[in-house]
């Protein structure tokens, strides 16, 4: 059984529901064929809101990755440079050897330096003999 205090509280009428809400809420609740963009955004925001710092951290990490990606030197160009440098230095070495041989008077005996070793072929293209023997 309710006390006098409880009865007194119950007698206080609650405020009325604003009338204009009816049309607004029912308009929003009309049958929809699929999820509307607004509902999707609201669902997404409700999904992201509980961990704002984690998502901000993840976004910051992506920004750092993109910045590093675009500011870092281009690797293929570097590789190309290093390869052309090797050919250049090999040619210089060859020239110096020839010059040395001429100075020493050994032009006839001077053996040309060995050709630039070719890059190793893929395993599948190596001669069978090498693989066997």
């Amino acid at each position: 059984m309710n006390s006098d205090f409880e009865n007194q509280l119950q007698r206080r009428p609650l405020r009325e529901l604003p009338r204009q809400w009816r049309s607004e809420i029912l308009a929003a609740a009309r049958p929809a064929s699929g999820p509307r963009p607004l509902a999707f955004v609201s669902r997404l925001s409700s999904w992201l809101w509980p961990y704002p710092r984690a998502w901000a951290g993840l976004a910051a990490a992506w920004v750092v990755i993109f910045v590093l990606h675009f500011t870092a030197p281009d690797e293929p160009r570097l590789a190309g440079n290093s390869s052309s440098m090797t050919i250049q230095s090999f040619a210089t070495l060859q020239q110096q050897t020839l010059m040395m041989a001429q100075l020493l008077g050994q032009t006839d005996n001077a053996e040309p330096p060995a050709a630039l070793p070719a890059a190793p072929k893929p395993r599948s293209e190596r001669p069978m003999q090498q693989m066997i023997g």
């Binding site: 205090f5 509280l9 929003a28 929809a32």
Partner: protein, 173 residues
């Protein structure tokens, strides 16, 4: 193109239960904009998935339960973005109808304030018991808690209200 209206069943549900849902959610959320959002979400959910109501024995209870779950989600979300939720609860919107009697009006304002000082779980039980006149079993079902918990939350909440309102209540009694 003419906009489609809500289905007749949704309109009926709104007319039958929206006032009760409004009072309950306003008391829980203590903010009119959030209350409107939560109410809209309840009816949008029902419009999209009418099957939700099929298994419900008590429409009012089901809507209050749905509203309560959405309100709790909203409180958590709000808690994550604004740490001053408790402060907001104390700001107490106009929860009760206005009275022409100044003493009575003051009592209603103090009562709204006192309700705002209670934890949301006690406030929910008090509201359902006092203004929806639900039994503890029905409250337990609505809030998904054991009936004993509902009863103890009610007693704690009521004691706090009595204590808080005693001076002003003795005057107007």
């Amino acid at each position: 193109m003419k906009e489609m209206a809500a289905s007749p069943n949704i309109q009926r549900l709104y007319d039958d239960h929206a006032p009760a849902l409004f009072g309950f959610l306003l008391n829980l959320l203590r903010n009119e904009a959030d209350t409107r959002d939560a109410m809209q979400e309840v009816f949008v959910k029902l419009a999209r998935r009418p099957a939700l109501l099929e298994g419900a024995r008590d429409e009012r209870g089901f809507l209050l339960r749905l509203g309560h779950n959405l309100a709790i989600d909203l409180i958590r979300r709000r808690g994550a973005r604004e740490r001053n939720y408790e402060q907001l609860a104390r700001e107490s919107p106009a929860l009760f109808a206005e009275s022409a009697n100044p003493d009575e009006q003051i009592f209603r304002e103090k009562l709204a304030e006192a309700l705002g000082e209670l934890p949301a779980d006690q406030r929910a039980v008090l509201h359902l018991k006092l203004w929806e006149k639900l039994t503890f079993d029905a409250i337990a079902q609505t809030l998904d808690i054991p009936p004993n918990t509902a009863a103890s939350r009610y007693r704690y909440g009521l004691d706090k209200l009595r204590e808080r309102l005693r001076p002003i209540y003795d005057e107007i009694k």
